[in-house]
């Protein structure tokens, strides 16, 4: 059935009365996502995209039975909005906001782990199960339904890669934008585990980037546990050590997070890596047979 999201998933939009929130609510709904309501303190009673707006998540969840929420709130308010979702009984929260303080992300991650709630992001592009539903920015033009489980640190790069797959007739079971910060709720390792268990996912594609240890940690799991073929692309090899260009998390410190360390770890785990994004479809096809 894909992972995390399908056409039956009931989704709430937090911050729905912001221009970005209402625009995205309509885009998601048009795509087929089951948007059941929005939340915006003080704006309860309004309707946006044909669904009710509530003042609190508690009320919204009680009346709609939603299990997933996406936040269109500023980074400064992300922590409170996420905790509001957790306390209301949501089990998956998607946070696209950039510049969430890292001490907040660390605390949020801990609390959600204890509560058994999944966080996707922050600073991410959301997720899409093509042909069924999307929660975040992914659009129809870039992807086909298919059997490749895709995970990416970058939104824009994943769009470019998905287009390369589409050109060769390859599609995705689900695409998860894990986000461009070093500390994140759902990691590559989590995605690989979910895709490995998903009967509709045949192969996996990891779109990584220098910085942090996500690729290495996923590789350590893949080495002993993954049976499905996995292809990876790691971006950022020309970013100089110690420089921050692009994503906040895309930074090499000493020898931590280098392109080489990631490629070596992935190769050791049996993952095939692509030099350019154009090589990816062939590697996914090749690993098929």
């Amino acid at each position: 059935m894909s992972i995390l999201l399908d056409g039956d998933t009931r989704v709430l939009v937090q911050g729905v009365t912001w221009p970005m929130g209402s625009f995205q609510a309509e885009e998601m709904q048009r795509y087929g996502t089951r948007i059941v309501g929005g939340v915006s303190p003080g704006k309860g009673g309004a309707r946006i995209a044909g669904v009710p707006v509530f003042d609190t998540m508690r009320r919204a969840v009680a009346e709609t039975g939603a299990r997933m929420s996406i936040l269109y709130v500023s980074a400064a308010r992300a922590k409170d909005a996420i905790y509001e979702a957790v306390d209301a009984g949501i089990n998956t929260v998607v946070c696209v906001a950039e510049f969430v303080p890292v001490h907040d992300t660390i605390e949020i991650k801990r609390r959600l782990r204890e509560a058994g709630v999944r966080l996707i992001g922050p600073n991410c592009s959301g997720l899409i199960t093509p042909g069924k539903a999307k929660v975040g920015f992914y659009c129809d033009e870039v992807c086909l339904p298919g059997d490749v489980g895709v995970m990416s640190k970058s939104g824009t790069l994943s769009y470019a890669v998905l287009l390369e797959l589409k050109r060769k007739g390859l599609g995705a079971s689900t695409v998860v934008g894990v986000g461009g910060d070093e500390v994140k709720g759902t990691t590559f390792r989590d995605c690989v585990e979910l895709f490995e268990a998903d009967p509709e996912t045949r192969a996996m594609l990891m779109i990584g980037e220098i910085g942090g240890r996500d690729e290495e940690q996923a590789a350590a799991w893949i080495r002993y546990n993954a049976k499905k073929p996995i292809v990876a692309f790691v971006s950022g090899r020309t970013i100089p050590v110690g420089r921050c260009i692009g994503h906040a998390g895309a930074m090499v410190v000493g020898s931590k997070g280098t392109h080489r360390s990631k490629i070596e770890a992935l190769h050791d785990a049996g993952v095939r890596t692509a030099e350019t994004i154009e090589d990816i479809p062939q590697l996914l096809g090749a690993s098929h047979g």
Binding site: A76, P101, H103, E107, L157, E209, V253, S255
Partner: protein, 383 residues
Amino acid sequence: MLLFEYEGKAVLREHGIATPRGVVVESLADVEAARVSTPVMVKAQILAGGRGKAGGIRRAGDAVALRRAAAAMLGATIRDLPVRALLIEELVAAVEERYLGLMLDGEDMLLVLGRRGGVEVEQLFSGARDGFEVMRIDPLYGVSAHQVRSALEGLGIGPQWWPVYCAVAERLSMLFRQSDATLAEINPLAELADGSLVAVDARIAIDDGALFRQARFAELAKGRAPPQGIAARMQALQVQYVPIGGAIGLVSSGAGVGTALMDWVALEGCRLHSFVDLDYAIIGGHTEAGMALVLDTLIGDPGVRAIIVNFTTCGLRLDMIARALVKVLDARRRLLTVPVFVHLQGNRAASGQRIVGEAGYEVVERLGDAVRSATKAARGEHP
């Protein structure tokens, strides 16, 4: 944001960590007015490591030497940075100099103690851990004294020192969380003959994302010398712009795809002129102005041989981006002597491509086509 040494030391003192007595000066008149008693250390306040080797830290034995050192350093450029202020401090009679630092590593905090001060901690992540003890700490709980004792034991530092180290490390840990720090480093930390510890240097980095609730550091950030020239104009329009120096111009949105293009152009043997991300400019309502500034910068540089325009986006509408792009390109049609390759894919791509194509610009089908065509043109080959 990185704090200057004198700013970091003020924060340390507020949290009960001792520093040498000192005064900050910005002119020779300040030096006279401060009436410090010599000998002193004169330290250039720049946001870079390795100041000592670059002549940015000098000892002055008397008033004449102090004036000479101050005159030489103020207004000078050290490690490519202008010296606008000096910290003049009393000498510290250290019995030993150590390293003490806290830093984030993913979702953990590392407590690092080094037997010798003066080393650069980046070495730690390169595997050279000789002389260091590294304790992995839960940042939500902070440093606990026993972790400090274990590290001290590992380095062979005698138990008579343990209580003062524990106190300093615990205070640094409080500071770390309260200030939204990502790095708090005392290097060196001096052991004095009287059994106390003094922070001889301070390097503290604050999370930029947290400045909304760190009013004091936000104020310091506002007071920083603003960027000059092109960097200032890019910043005013919220354009992310990092000069690289190559022959391929980039007009693009998105951090991830920009990074990938930087790599891809390098695989073809070329370099980007600059890394450009117009995302924030577009969201901030500066679509046309941002594109225009980037294009004018590229046109104004004779080293630029080809331009890649790339918008691979789902969150932004390509029909709107295409209209802005055509307007900006049309206004510069006669100035554009180098080939421009436009790649538009994603949300409303078909109408975006039509708008650009009908205006007479070359729209390429694949991102790789843009890279190959531009790099060929830059190498002087005809695509």
